[in-house]
């Protein structure tokens, strides 16, 4: 089955167009803030949102059924100067030429924002406030260093929300949300601090609800106007109705459907946008448009990372089933709408700094959509929509949504087959998760058992639940740096400064345990400052950038009368500190243990000198270090070191609580963070050279998992997955020939089941061959739709910088026999 002409046209436009910066949102936001000086911040932000929703350009592109964009263009990236304008000012001259995730921005646009937008925000942005408040002792390792990194938490909005369609948004609709807010307001007197804060909150909610409905109504108006134009065109002299095929081939200025049909479609768009999200949806079409408006509301309000559609198959299925029974929809029509949504989710651009783009490469917005798994009552949750989602990703090959599946021991074989069928396309999708492990992680994080069963992924591989406020990717913590400071008197080799805790020279250590404990001390120090950077940012977010619109999406805020950024959610779960480089550290400690303390074939002094020389002149020692057993090959001793480091990290991190009193959490997840984190770390005793990438998640070091995927799986499964409630990630690459036969497909299913029965949480496969990737490097124009998995997510290969491309090619390609 192929995609419809309409979808193919959208798809072509998506793969062939570059992201464009559109400053309209920033302009409107700024003007609104100029008008609201002195008002409470949540009301100012709600009013700015209302202004944006009332005045942003309304665009219905050719042949669209699902409508709405965040700016002028299909692929619009917006600016959010209230978070940071400085990085934009500094970097926008090179937006088009930067290696990772370039954007198009014209000189006129640049001149406009410099003259009319940025001056207002000088001294008022979150970035500036954060840099003012963060203590110098933390700043020196936190700000643009790659040692501990949280710039996406003060140069950007948080995102990391899964709107609660099932129990909050769909049953109510925004008219009722506004009415309920007004009812609350009617009953509140400003006689106490608490009441004043509630009044401010409910006012902001009422405005935000009005804003999103206004936005939808403007689309209804636009669609009606377009339909009227078409009607007069059709009535005009000699208008010939061209056949659908003919027009489609003609490309840009033409319709993929006959004009008369298009006119009816526009009228239907108008009807749908008039109804949702103001009122509860009653059909599949209404529900999907509702959902897209909410997604856009989130985009316009803060340019979020990881605004997750969540368990789409669960909340959409009842609409589909009812439509189908009533004869209102065909499976093909539903499929087309889902595919249209996939393209919409991919088109808008998360505008980020070059530094952030290094950590989150590939224009990735991290909108995770999770299908399959179990229902709240424990029964299997798969349904027709589940399969349609897998099919949609297979057919449109967009990098969004981040498609995740939940596999449980008794899930239907047909579902397993559909999952592997998608793996086979080499898109890196879906991210495959262990249903039980996800539930156990949520139980450990303090959720009610049924809620723990109802999880979806947030962003990359973080198990999450829709009634939650959490910073799921708060800080990236560079384990490699901690190791370096332990082995180098507290100094950074590449910067030549003391960035860690000063310690004695390596040669003076007398036991392996002493060295390991020195590493732990440095890690403790990095965790400590990560916590400082996080709680300061949390406090600033609650003061400066509350989130009225997203507060409507998360259960608990309304009842408590409290903004999401101030702990309004039903569950406030502690921020996640992501460890990077677990494999490198385990391998390095193992190399020292074996060569120095067991074999005695090398001295600590030699290691110190070799590290300082980046192995030059120490090739023999490097070779011996490389030959020491490595994490990822099911070797007990080194795997146990990795396990013990991971457990230490967990215990250390759990000691801290955030501003809401919730424990901090740990994760070993991916993103592309292992590449920039590696750039700031000199040579490591495992044989790795300076600036080389570290390791991602619980994956082995690239090229050192010389055994098989089975051994890599066994090693990874030894980590204590349940406790790392921020998620764990294992990436494996399989050469494409692995899945060419039914036997291969069944064997992959078995591998997944076996891995999960060992207790592990996530695995993802890339099945493209290196040959194909090389071709794509040579002729990027021919491979623009080639998706590869970067880490916990997939993106277009040709959009990655040459460096990231090389890192992907270098991943050990496991081949059978």
């Amino acid at each position: 089955m192929n995609v419809t002409k309409r979808i193919e046209k959208f798809r072509q436009s998506y793969v062939n167009s570059k992201p464009l910066i559109c400053y309209d949102r920033a302009d409107l936001w700024t003007r609104s803030h100029q008008e609201t000086e002195g008002e409470p911040i949540e009301i100012r932000r709600a009013k700015a949102f209302l202004k944006a929703c009332s005045e942003l350009p309304v665009q219905i592109f050719e042949d669209e059924l699902l409508v709405g964009t965040a700016g002028r263009f299909r692929r619009t990236g917006i600016l959010t100067p209230e978070f940071s304008w400085k990085w934009v000012d500094k970097e926008m001259d090179t937006f088009e030429t930067r290696p990772q995730d370039p954007y198009v921005m014209t000189d006129e646009q640049r001149a406009y924002v410099r003259e009319n937008i940025f001056p207002y925000w000088k001294g008022k942005s979150l970035e500036e406030a954060f840099l003012n408040r963060v203590p110098e002792s933390t700043a020196r390792i936190l700000i643009d260093t790659g040692i501990i990194d949280n710039d996406s938490k003060w140069r950007q909005a948080i995102g990391e929300v899964t709107p609660d369609y099932l129990e909050t948004l769909f049953p109510k609709g925004y008219d009722r949300i506004r009415e309920e807010a007004q009812a609350k307001l009617a009953a509140l007197e400003p006689v106490s601090r608490e009441n004043i804060e509630k009044i401010q909150f409910y006012t902001s909610i009422a405005i935000a609800a009005e804003a999103i409905v206004t936005f939808a109504n403007r689309y209804a108006d636009k669609a009606e106007a377009m339909a009227a134009d078409l009607a007069s065109e059709l009535a005009g002299a000699g208008a010939v109705e061209p056949s659908a095929e003919k027009v489609f081939e003609d490309g840009e200025k033409q319709w993929a459907v006959p004009l008369k049909q298009r006119r009816e479609e526009l009228l239907e768009i108008a009807r749908v946008c008039r109804k949702v999200p103001a009122r509860p949806p009653e059909t599949f079409r209404e529900a999907i448009q509702f959902m897209w408006f909410v997604q856009l509301g989130g985009v316009i309000s803060e340019n979020p990372l990881a605004l997750n559609p969540g368990r789409f198959d669960q909340y959409m299925y009842p609409f589909y089933a009812a439509d189908l029974a009533a004869g209102r929809i065909t499976p093909a029509e539903a499929q087309e709408l889902i595919e249209a949504l996939w393209i919409k989710l991919s088109e808008w651009v998360w505008t980020i700094s070059a530094n952030t783009a290094d950590f989150f490469a590939g224009y990735n917005q991290f909108q995770n959509l999770t299908v399959g798994g179990r229902k709240r009552d424990g029964s299997d949750a798969t349904n027709d929509i589940t399969y349609m989602c897998l099919e949609a990703t297979k057919r449109v090959k967009t990098h969004q949504p981040g498609l995740s599946v939940r596999i449980h021991a008794d899930c239907p074989e047909a579902f397993m087959n559909a999952v592997v069928d998608l793996v086979k396309t080499g898109t890196g999708f879906p991210a495959i998760h262990n249903d039980d492990a996800g539930s156990r992680m949520l139980l450990q994080a303090g959720y009610e058992p049924e809620d723990a069963r109802d999880w979806n992924n947030c962003g990359c591989v973080v198990p999450h639940f829709r009634k939650t406020g959490q910073w799921t990717a708060a800080v990236n913590v560079n384990f490699g740096a901690a190791l370096e400071y332990a082995l180098n008197e507290g100094n950074s080799r590449l910067r030549g400064e003391t960035l860690g805790i000063p310690v004695k020279p390596l040669a003076d250590f007398t036991s392996f345990e002493e060295i390991k404990s020195a590493f732990e001390t440095q890690l403790q120090y990095l965790v400590h400052h990560s916590v400082i950077g996080t709680v300061i940012a949390q406090q600033l977010h609650s003061e400066m950038v509350p989130r009225p619109f997203l507060s409507t999406c998360v259960d608990g805020c309304f009842e408590k009368g409290k903004d999401l950024s101030r702990g309004g959610a039903r569950y406030n779960v502690g921020p996640v500190l992501t460890g990077i480089g677990l494999g490198v550290v385990a391998n390095s400690l193992m190399a020292i243990k074996k060569l120095v303390f067991e074999e005695g074939s090398a001295t600590l002094q030699e290691f110190a000198e070799a590290m300082a020389a980046d192995w030059v002149g120490f090739e023999d020692l490097q070779r011996r270090a490389v030959n020491v057993e490595k994490y990822g090959n099911d070797q007990e001793e080194v795997d146990r070191i990795a396990q013990s480091i991971a457990n230490y990290y967990y215990h250390e991190t759990r000691k801290y609580k955030d501003i809401f009193g919730s424990h901090f959490n740990t994760a070993f997840m991916g993103i592309s963070n292992y590449i920039p984190a590696g750039k700031v770390v000199g040579a490591t005793p495992c044989g790795r050279r300076a600036r080389q990438p570290l390791t991602e998640g619980v994956s082995p070091f690239v090229g050192s998992d010389t055994s098989t995927p089975l051994a890599a799986m066994r090693s990874a499964a030894k980590m204590n997955h349940d406790v790392h409630t921020g998620g764990t990630l294992l990436n494996l690459r399989l050469m494409s020939d692995f899945l060419e036969t039914r036997r291969g497909v069944n064997n992959l299913k078995s591998m997944i089941r076996a891995y999960f029965s060992l207790g592990a949480f996530h695995v993802q496969f890339n099945t493209v061959s290196n040959e194909v990737l090389r071709k794509a490097q040579d002729r990027p124009q021919d491979y623009r739709d080639l998706l590869v998995r970067v880490a916990g997510y997939s993106t277009q290969f040709v959009n990655l910088s040459p460096e990231v491309q090389e890192a992907i090619i270098a991943r050990c390609a496991h081949k059978l026999d």
Partner: protein
């Protein structure tokens, strides 16, 4: 008890059902001209020397305790007659140009290593495949391993040339779930010429196998200019259908992946070059086998 294991390869999926671990046991009575595993001919480990990696730094010569065990020219090939397998040259080689192929292992060591993947066997319906060399050549070691894995409830497969003393391994054969049995050439003289042994023992063992009730797949390595003529393939198929009608046949096209090993082991003079039969030829031969009433299977 110990034996010489050439290699233990996990994640093996072409030698039986599911995900398997293949144990390559050293030692083989045949010397097939197309052999891709010359490192398994003898029942002892061998040190290979890879010319493409050798930088001629001379460290192997410095540490080798036996005079004349290493050649002076690149890549300093090992003379197996003198080499004591001390492994020093492998240890010191900075470019991994020397590798030890094969290792003396105890039964419990082999079992421990293999059983780490039991969870994958269970999930996939896989297990252990014995191969070689000739898997049965170290008969006592082989029998002990088979018994251990059988008692552990592991699915067992055997790849064999069919050249063994029946009584030495009969019990183990009966414990197998699956046997891949090579019938390389039906003509006795030609078999002798191409493998160094005549095929009467092999054919006799195949007849006996029919009485065991084990699932058997006959494998024919199809080699251009050796055994890919219709007459041989047809004779093989007819023989199978006559003595063991339940058995299926798998036709495996010759591959040259093992040729680098001849160079590394200084066996260049014993390397014969053959061509891989094309897909069309393979299809024609499969059709021929089917016409003889024998089922064709593939584990690719």
């Amino acid at each position: 008890m110990t034996g010489v294991v050439s290699q233990i390869q996990d994640f093996s999926v072409h030698d039986g059902d599911g995900i398997r671990t293949t144990i390559f046991l050293s030692g083989c009575p045949l010397r097939c001209r197309w052999c891709s595993n010359p490192e398994t001919w003898g029942v002892k480990p061998v040190v290979a020397s890879h010319a493409s990696r050798c930088t001629d730094c001379g460290r192997c010569l410095q540490v080798c305790p036996v005079e004349g065990a290493l050649g002076l020219g690149v890549p300093h090939h090992v003379n197996p007659a003198r080499c004591t397998l001390c492994g020093r040259c492998v240890e010191v080689c900075p470019s991994a140009a020397k590798t030890m192929m094969g290792r003396d292992m105890s039964v419990s060591e082999v079992v421990g290593k293999v059983m780490r993947n039991n969870i994958f066997f269970q999930a996939s319906g896989g297990g252990v495949t014995f191969s070689g060399g000739e898997a049965t050549f170290q008969a006592d070691f082989f029998n002990r391993l088979v018994r251990e894995f059988y008692d552990l409830g592991v699915h067992l497969a055997l790849e064999t040339s069919g050249f063994f003393e029946w009584n030495e391994v009969a019990e183990s054969l009966a414990l197998m779930d699956h046997i891949f049995f090579d019938l390389k050439l039906m003509d006795r003289d030609r078999h002798l010429e191409m493998t160094g042994q005549d095929n009467s023992l092999i054919l006799e063992n195949f007849r006996r196998l029919a009485s065991l009730g084990v699932e058997v797949v006959v494998r024919i390595p199809v080699i251009s200019g050796v055994n890919e003529d219709e007459a041989n393939i047809e004779a093989t198929a007819l023989f199978v259908s006559e003595v063991f009608p339940r058995a299926a046949i798998e036709l495996l096209p010759y591959h040259a992946y093992g040729s680098y090993k001849y160079e590394a082991l200084n066996l260049g003079s014993r390397l014969y070059a053959y061509e891989t039969p094309g897909e069309g030829r393979m299809d024609a031969l499969k059709a021929l086998v089917e016409r003889c009433g024998v089922k064709v299977v593939s584990y690719k």
